[in-house]
Amino acid sequence: MSGVRDRNASAWLLPNDGTRTNHRLRRDMRRFEDSDEVDAVVVGCGAGGSVMLQRLARRGWHVVGFDAGPFWDPDTDWVSDEAGSHHLYWTEPRVISGSDPVPMGSNNSGRGVGGSMVHFAGYAPRFHPSDFRTLSQDGVGADWPIRYEALRPYYTEIEQELPVAGDFWPWGDPHPYPHRPHRVSGNGEVFLRGAEKMGITAKVGPVAIPNGRFGNRPHCIYRGFCLQGCKVNAKASPLITHVPDALAHGAEIRADCMVTRVEVDEHTGLATGVHYIKDGRRRFQRARIVIVAGYSIETPRLLLNSASKRFPEGLCNDFDQVGRYLMVQGAPQTAGRFDEEVRMYKAPPPEVMSEDFYETDPGKPYRRGFAIQTVSPLPITWAEHVAAQGHWGADLRERMSDYVHWACLGALCEFLPSAENRVTLSRETDRNGLPVADFSYSQTDNDKMLMKAARGVMEEILHAAGAADVITIGRYAHLVGGARMAADERHGVVDSDCRTFAVRNLYIADGSVLPTQGSANPALTIMAVAARAADRLTG
């Protein structure tokens, strides 16, 4: 693994004395002036933005990353507690609408350096080759302007940098992982047992948690609070996998700075920098190139809030593409009750996964498919499961007291892109006076059939494993799309290199560029797309 350190030394730049943050690296960070025309500004320091910063800084570019949230220190800022982790989520106001409104916050929205990967579970599967051409292959969704093969080397790179642990992966483009699979807890045992009885292939991983030490990152302690931010520095997030190396190579990160508008020169048609608010003061950072990486809600919101004389409907929105084709995955969770104690709160929730149902099955009435994974709700989230069955009062308390006996599986159903699922600007404004995002979502018939099929399979697996009772809640997970990649400006916002069609020095490097989502957790693909875009940008 010495090759990883040569190209990304982040894990070796962290302290090895039991603390989790290299404060000297942050204190000595290079700082640019607003009046400096830096080579690039990156708006958002999550999965896409942090990879961009690290790659560009490595090539000697002068780069500044902005994030609306804090520059986290896991020791002081994060707690091993569910209710105390609210500040990890984007909790600024947002409106949700449509026939199937999608809750935001803890479900899918990050805040601060590291983005939503700070609280993602840790699953890091690749997309399948079929995800890049669902329209030509299955007659649904969209074809990407690139094929899987264009991302393959970047998948391999990022899997080494996170790094990812798991069994040899037999689905999609079969491949091994750099780290051995982790041991599993009661929840994983239940899934493996049920799947084996049913003849379903299930594998351990892939999770972005090294199995063993990695640089100065310690071994996972199987604490189970992955969704509350990893205090151990074991689970990957850009805060520890890409930001340290970016800083060591001269990048600046400006945390607690909300970017409000991308400025475009009316005469040259080029982006000239970004307006942002720091400590209540409005400021402007000049830049030669602007890269937006605010994810599927904030990226479209920023473009729409950057309307000008040239772009009256919003920046890059000449063809009404900004904010559209936003996707979530249908993520029903089915739990089963076992006589044994499962204690699903122990060990990372991401343990075992099956992609047996990922591809289109010609024998089924629906197109595309779903993946099944272990999920392990902590008590507050588990109470949502129980309350969703209609229980309250004494009934709720009694059923909750049965917590240690329940195991839980979650599906990721590939919901199809639809132009009507989109972000627009609400009349409501935030404390800076900026219109907030209104996210409208409605399911298609195909989506509903997938949810039902996934639920059926999860119930069968749990019954096969020995569960007497099963309960299911409908929910959603992840976000992608909203400023998608396409062959031309009438079908998307950016080209295959993540460059906007409308402004030639404006790029988007986050999950919003994905035209389809497969049944895979998107973090790895977002990073791989950003790494490829950085290569294309720097030649």
């Binding site: 002081t76 707690v79 091993s80 507690d81 569910e82 209710a83 105390g84 609210h86 984007w90 909790t91 600024e92 106001p93 947002r94 409106v95 949700i96 609408s97 409104p101 809750p103 935001m104 916050g105 041991r183 599993v184 807890s185 009661g186 045992e189 239940v190 996972c220 302690i221 199987y222 604490r223 189970g224 609070f225 205090k231 151990v232 076992f338 006589d339 044994e340 104690e341 204690r343 709160y345 122990k346 060990a347 902590l378 008590p379 507050i380 588990w382 109470a383 949502e384 309350a387 209609g390 309250w392 009062g393 004494a394 709720l396 308390r397 909750m400 049965d402 917590y403 240690v404 006996h405």
Partner: protein
């Protein structure tokens, strides 16, 4: 009245482990065992209705150490929302105020007594009616979204408190100790077996 519940994990006390937790986590959790901050959001009238509502939603014992409504009031005062609101609902604080006024008015309509003064079965019948309304508007609000608001806030307060963890066998924070004994029916020394299950 709150039912007497069997204690499935007798002697189990999650907070007794606080010395083994990191300082940031211990601070956040142990604060919940102390006095709640003063009420800042709810009016006294709203507070009385909210207390009765949460007592019923969670079947709280009269001596329950979890001050659910004080925790909700804190969140509303600090605008600590879940990061979204339904298009057909006002922001969370306003939605709480409107829905509490709705309960009060239902109680006066049906029993000529404020909600907080009603006996628990009558309170339950009013709350239960809201849950069963389906798509019919309730005081101008969609009842399913009101139900979601109430249960999300109430459950977050109760199951974020060590008292709530004790009765479900959840040990709470696990840093820096982590877990060593993984698997079905495997326990750490600090975990207690379920004595009332199966």
């Amino acid at each position: 009245m709150a039912a007497t519940r069997p204690n499935r994990f007798p002697g189990f006390d999650a907070a007794s482990q606080w010395r083994h937790w990191d300082a940031a986590t211990a601070g956040a959790v142990m604060k919940r065992l102390g006095p709640p901050p003063p009420f800042r959001y709810f009016t006294p009238d709203e507070q009385s209705t909210a207390v009765a509502l949460c007592d019923r939603l969670l079947d709280l014992e009269p001596d329950c150490p979890v001050n659910v409504v004080a925790m909700i009031d804190s969140r509303l005062a600090e605008a600590e929302t879940d990061g979204w609101r339904y298009e057909d609902m006002p922001e969370d604080g306003r939605a709480w105020s409107v829905s509490l006024a709705g309960l009060k008015s239902d109680a006066v309509d049906r029993f000529q007594i404020p909600f907080a003064e009603l006996d628990p079965p009558s309170q339950n019948s009013i709350i239960g009616a809201v849950r069963k309304l389906g798509s019919e508007a309730w005081h101008g609000l969609p009842p399913d979204h009101v139900w979601s608001l109430w249960t999300r806030y109430a459950c977050t307060a109760f199951y974020g408190h060590p008292f709530g963890w004790n009765e479900i066998g959840f040990p709470g924070p696990a840093y820096p100790s982590g877990y060593k004994n993984l698997g079905l029916d495997a326990r750490e020394p600090r975990e207690k077996a379920d004595e009332g299950g199966a």
